[in-house]
């Protein structure tokens, strides 16, 4: 019954084909099969946001999507966005504003924040908070994270 399903997806620009067990979450597939361990696993039921990745350009929870559901999809992870330079401004701002301590939430936080940056609109702090409301940080108290995102959003032309 639980046969592996032939699945082809594009991860950070590279086409990948694998036979995947239906029960495997997208984030487990990325971490365990492809070695992309930048996407973190926190709660595994869609609450903490540490596993946030992009599927076809939209942020999703890597623990609330089966890897087989990503068949034919374009998946981008923190590794892809970091290597391409897309996250440069946010990474710099996070560094400058001290927007991380232990760093566990940071990949997911950057993915969620970049989702706002690509929409290219100015946001109030309230809107930023609302957008990252699904990403938990247990160290910073969010203030510095919102500072960093605000700097990038309102500094862009």
């Amino acid at each position: 019954m639980e046969h592996a399903v032939e699945t082809t997806l594009t991860v950070n620009g590279t086409r990948v084909s694998r036979r995947i067990a239906p029960r495997q979450h997208l984030v487990d597939f990325l971490r365990d099969e492809l070695g992309l361990t930048g996407s973190h696993i926190g709660c595994e039921h869609g609450v903490c946001g540490a596993c946030t990745v992009r599927v076809n350009g939209e942020i999703v929870r890597g623990c609330l999507m089966l890897a087989v559901q990503a068949n034919g999809c374009r998946v981008d992870t923190i590794e892809g966005l970091s290597d391409s330079g897309e996250l440069k401004a946010l990474q710099k701002a996070f560094h400058e504003k001290n927007a991380l301590q232990c760093g566990f939430c940071t990949p997911g936080m950057l993915m969620a924040a970049q989702d706002l940056v690509v929409q290219k609109k100015k946001c109030s702090r309230e809107e930023i908070r609302s957008h990252i409301s699904g990403n938990y940080c247990r160290c910073t108290g969010y203030q510095a994270i919102v500072d960093a995102i605000e700097q990038v959003l309102n500094g862009q032309s």
Partner: protein, 267 residues
Amino acid sequence: MKAPSFAYARPGTLAEAFDLLERHGERARILAGGQSLIPSLNMRLSSPGLLVDITGIPGLSKIEASAGGGLRIGALVTHAQIEKSPDVRKHAPLLAQAAPHIAHPAIRNRGTLGGSLALADPAAEYPACALALNATFIVLSKKGERRVKATEFFKGLFETDLKSAEILAAAEFPAVDKSAFVELARRHGDYAIVGLAAVRTGSQKRFAFLGAGATPVLAVNASKASSLEEARQALEKDLDPPADLYHSSPTKLHLAGVLLERAWNTL
């Protein structure tokens, strides 16, 4: 936690989906956005033998204006699409008002209207909206199409009028003059303590509460009331909200009244 083992099928047509659902009966579950089903698998609260992923079936993701000024929304339309759609804002603004209250952006990108309605979580936003708007659900099976009124659809806790091997394909939302959606939650995106979908057409009002019973609850008496005071009193007859971990039944009833007042003043 990790989900238990199950088989997975992604039919490309409704006919294939009906076949799979019929063949596997109770062991099969329909997977759409999966934003409630997959957590329940992860927590091992559910262990289906087969997931039938309906997202490959064409024709279930449209938002179309329907006769009479209302809107027909396909089951696979996501919360994010509802939130951003100019058509929804124009023809069924209540849904656009409710969508931002559902979880968080990354979840709204995957979760679907049909999934939320078919799951029938009493604390969910859309079931109450459907009740307030007097929506009609389009249910498909091998036998053809069946139309079910929202008032007949929600039968009990996570229980609906859907039979096995039936698929909720769309919902039709009639136009109303004015609508308001309000809810109280401990944190944004958490399950609501209590929420209210309120609409007005002419002098006719309809109030549907979420988080106030085993199903979304249409406040029949409050909807008939001619003054706010009368409506608040009528709520005592309409609602008997179950206590949750943090709020007693009387607290929830009180909060329902608070929401009623907020909505009443904007309708």
